[in-house]
């Protein structure tokens, strides 16, 4: 896995490996370079190594092998307080015995900044997150969302060029989380800082990032901008981890550069785009996004294969209908159709033919 080439390697992981017990590798040969001003998200299930990577970058864990470069200097041996990296923690880690103002002044104080300058900077940082009135409160007197803003302001108050965020929105409710996503994104754009963001929430990763690194089993599975990640997943893990996905197992019957024909287990034939298929006769897992499934023949490209489906359940979700169907022996095939005027209302038990554009069906490795 090689990183997407960038004109600037502001943060570089160079063959980084990490082991805690000397028997298993938590991070296996990580190579990643992050450009200045980029918003990069490390996404993955728990135990995939993403947080370990962040901790190595922050200096709380040491790399077992390899180098980590920050702005061209090797920071492997540099203690955390000399790195000048801002960090936002999952539980905010606001010092409970200090007021909000004292919390924010802390990084300036340890840098030996004068009182007047300190106060000005603290106020500016608080205003930046719309918390100017709260300087004299204690963290315990604030709501989760307010604490989150303060944690953010504290990580930014000493003007770091790199800010790390370790699942900073994990403890907030859905609405607040979505609001904060935009605010963080906005701050990133106005301040021009580099952000490395760790999350296990794929929606968050897609909304906020310039690029997303999907971690699994200590490796980056795919490193790509959000749209590419969603529409062109490189392997089954990424396809499954990002968004909802229909999986149809089968065997490759015909294969050329851009197209392949897959025979499903029930004998039906479908079209797909080969992604990591090497030869004919290979087992594969075809992945199709639910919103790309069509049941109206006029919407299909000419000559595309269509297969039988039986409607099992229709769930009304407001903006969309979520239709669960029996397709090629599986009962969890999902189709999402927009709730537009004149949309055909399907009923359970109904039989119909469905299909998709061959580009939307991706033949991936069997997991």
């Amino acid at each position: 896995m090689t990183a997407v080439p960038t004109d600037e390697g502001f943060v570089v992981f160079d063959h980084v490996q990490k082991s805690y017990d000397g028997e298993t590798l938590v991070v296996k040969d990580l190579n990643l370079s992050i450009a200045k001003g980029e918003f990069l998200t490390m996404l993955g299930p728990s135990g995939s190594g993403k947080t370990t990577c962040l901790m190595m970058l922050a200096g709380f864990e040491t790399a077992t092998n390899g180098r980590i470069l920050l702005d061209g200097t090797n920071i492997n041996e540099m203690p955390p307080h000399k790195r000048g990296i801002g960090m936002v923690f999952q539980n905010y880690a606001l010092f409970p015995h200090m007021t909000v103002g004292e919390n924010l002044a802390f990084p300036l104080e340890v840098r030996g900044m004068g009182k007047a300058e300190r106060e000005a900077k603290v106020m500016r940082a608080l205003d930046m997150v719309q918390m100017g009135k709260f300087a004299n409160r204690r963290p315990a007197q604030l709501s989760g969302g307010q604490q989150q803003r303060i944690a953010l302001a504290r990580a930014l108050v000493f003007d770091p060029s790199l800010v790390l965020m370790d699942e900073p929105l994990g403890a907030l409710d859905k609405q607040l989380r979505e609001h904060m996503q935009f605010e963080i994104k906005h701050l990133h754009e106005t301040l021009g800082i580099t952000v490395v963001y760790v999350t296990h929430d794929q929606g968050e990763a897609l909304t906020m990032s310039d690029r997303v690194a999907v971690f699994n089993d200590g490796r980056i599975q795919q490193l790509a901008p959000p749209d590419e990640l969603y529409e062109r997943p490189k392997n089954s893990f990424v396809a499954q981890f990002i968004g909802e996905n229909n999986k149809l197992p089968g065997t490759v019957e015909e294969l050329d550069d851009e197209k392949c024909l897959v025979r499903l287990e029930t004998g039906e034939m479908i079209d797909a785009t080969p992604v990591n298929i090497r030869h004919k006769g290979q087992q594969t897992l075809v992945s199709i996004r639910p919103e790309r499934v069509e049941f109206k023949p006029e919407m299909m490209p000419p000559g595309a294969h269509m297969i039988e489906a039986e409607v099992l359940e229709v769930i009304y979700m407001g903006d969309i209908f979520r239709t669960r169907m029996r397709v090629a022996g599986t009962t969890d095939f999902v189709m999402k159709s927009r709730n537009t005027i004149g949309q055909t209302k399907l009923k359970p038990g109904e039989r119909l033919k469905i299909g998709w554009h061959p580009a939307d069906a991706r033949a991936l490795d069997p997991m």
């Binding site: 203690p79 955390p80 960090m87 923690f89 880690a93 015995h97 802390f106 990084p107 340890v110």
Partner: protein, 421 residues
């Protein structure tokens, strides 16, 4: 939300059927409250009987001693009728004679004499001697008594008798503070060479503070290690910390004797290493040092456990946050970690201090002469001199000192912030 809780425009809230809301709430919770009360009642009763009543009695004993007053009714009456300053005339000696005869019959001369003896030592025999001969004395009794023993003419003895006629007295508190009364009843200090209690109280306080400080100093790193080690190793270390709890206090104390005495293990090692000569063996036990070492060892777990329980709740992300914000590890410790452990430091420190103030066995065994504490003196008065009232006064004073420290702690840290486990 039902309309039952809607507020009426004026007056208190009522339920749907018109009852006041507070009364309805109390009624609905009454059964649950009664059941809860029944559950705690046995414990409450136990504490009352085994703790509050004895403590109250002890405190009462320090200001109340009827050893003399209940055995000398005639003298008590005479003192009542003749105010302070009256001349000790023939009628007083007649009352004394009738009381002494009564004491002889009831065999209580010793008890009454002991009470006076607390005030003026050497007067117990005055009573026991006179009681035997009282019946045979002829009037005028004043001359007869003085002829029997000239101390019967001593105004200080009569001052003590008058004082003891009232069972309520603060004299034991005076004694506990190295004070006494002169012949006129004014409070004076006892001669310098007889002063013991104030010095002992001061030493007890100093030793307790030193031991508390040592315990905190030694316990803090161990508690931190316990809180940060992985579970399995932490459990093993915890067993080592708790091991002393499973060993008899006497065994632990005597093992310190074996280690520290001048022919003991430690001195032998020093001599063998050539650090000290054979004649330069260090006296490490049967003095203050012995008390400090042995008590610090015994009380150490009491600081470690509260500290550990507080440190366990401090997520490592606080120190990490401080480090990432640019603090050195020392600054992060001092500014972020240490302040958050204060509830544990306070709880552990206060616990050890209170325990140390009242510690008895260890100083008795390894303290020698200058490692004794006030509790040893209390035990002496309870068991040897049988002056329970003085023991009670000393104990009450100890209680007050502890409460003062409690109060200081509350002002500085806040009792509500204390965390014991």
């Amino acid at each position: 939300m039902t309309d039952a809780t809607l507020p009426t425009p004026s007056g208190p809230l009522t339920t749907a059927d018109g009852r006041p809301l507070k009364a309805a709430l109390a009624a609905s919770l009454a059964v649950r409250r009664r059941r809860a009360l029944m559950l705690v009642a046995p414990l409450f009763l136990f504490i009352l009987i085994s703790f509050i009543v004895p403590i109250g009695q002890m405190l009462f004993k320090s200001i109340y001693n009827d050893g003399f007053s209940k055995n000398a009714p005639a003298l008590v009456q005479w003192f009542d009728e003749h105010p302070k300053g009256s001349e000790i005339d023939e009628s007083a000696y007649a009352a004394l004679r009738s009381d002494l005869i009564l004491m002889r019959e009831q065999k209580t001369a010793g008890e009454a004499g002991t009470r006076i003896n607390y005030d003026i030592s050497g007067t117990r025999s005055l009573f026991t001697g006179a009681a035997r001969k009282a019946e045979k004395l002829e009037p005028p009794y004043k001359e007869a008594f003085i002829a029997l023993d000239k101390d019967w003419g001593n105004p200080n003895v009569w001052r003590a008798l008058r004082s003891a006629a009232n069972p309520f007295t603060i004299d034991f508190y005076l004694a506990a503070n190295d004070m006494t009364r002169d012949e006129t009843g004014a409070i004076t200090a006892v001669p310098k060479d007889q002063q013991v209690y104030k010095k002992l109280m001061g030493r007890t306080l100093m030793l307790s503070i030193e031991i508390t400080a040592l315990c905190l100093l030694l316990g803090f790193p161990i508690a931190h290690l316990l809180a940060t080690l992985p579970m399995r190793k932490a459990m093993l270390l915890m067993i080592f910390v708790l091991l002393p709890f499973w060993t008899s206090l006497l065994v632990r104390t005597t093992s310190w004797m074996v280690l520290l005495q001048s022919q003991g293990v430690l001195n032998d090692v020093f001599v063998w290493l050539g650090v000290i000569g054979e004649d330069g063996r260090i006296q490490m036990i049967y003095n203050e040092m012995g008390t400090i070492i042995a008590m610090t060892h015994i009380l150490l777990p009491f600081t470690i456990l509260p500290l550990y329980s507080v440190m366990k709740t401090i997520p490592p992300s606080y120190v990490r946050a401080a480090r990432s914000l640019g603090a050195t590890s020392w600054t992060a410790f001092r500014r972020v970690y240490l302040p958050q452990t204060l509830p544990g430091v306070g709880a552990g420190g206060l616990l050890v201090f209170i325990l140390a103030m009242g510690y008895y066995i260890t100083p008795a065994l390894v303290g020698g002469a200058d490692g004794q504490m006030i509790s040893n003196m209390i035990a002496f008065h309870m068991q040897k001199s049988l002056n329970w009232s003085l023991a009670a006064a000393l104990a009450a004073q100890l209680l007050v000192v502890v409460l003062i420290f409690f109060w200081i702690y509350d002002k500085l840290v806040g009792i509500d912030k204390m965390k014991l486990g």
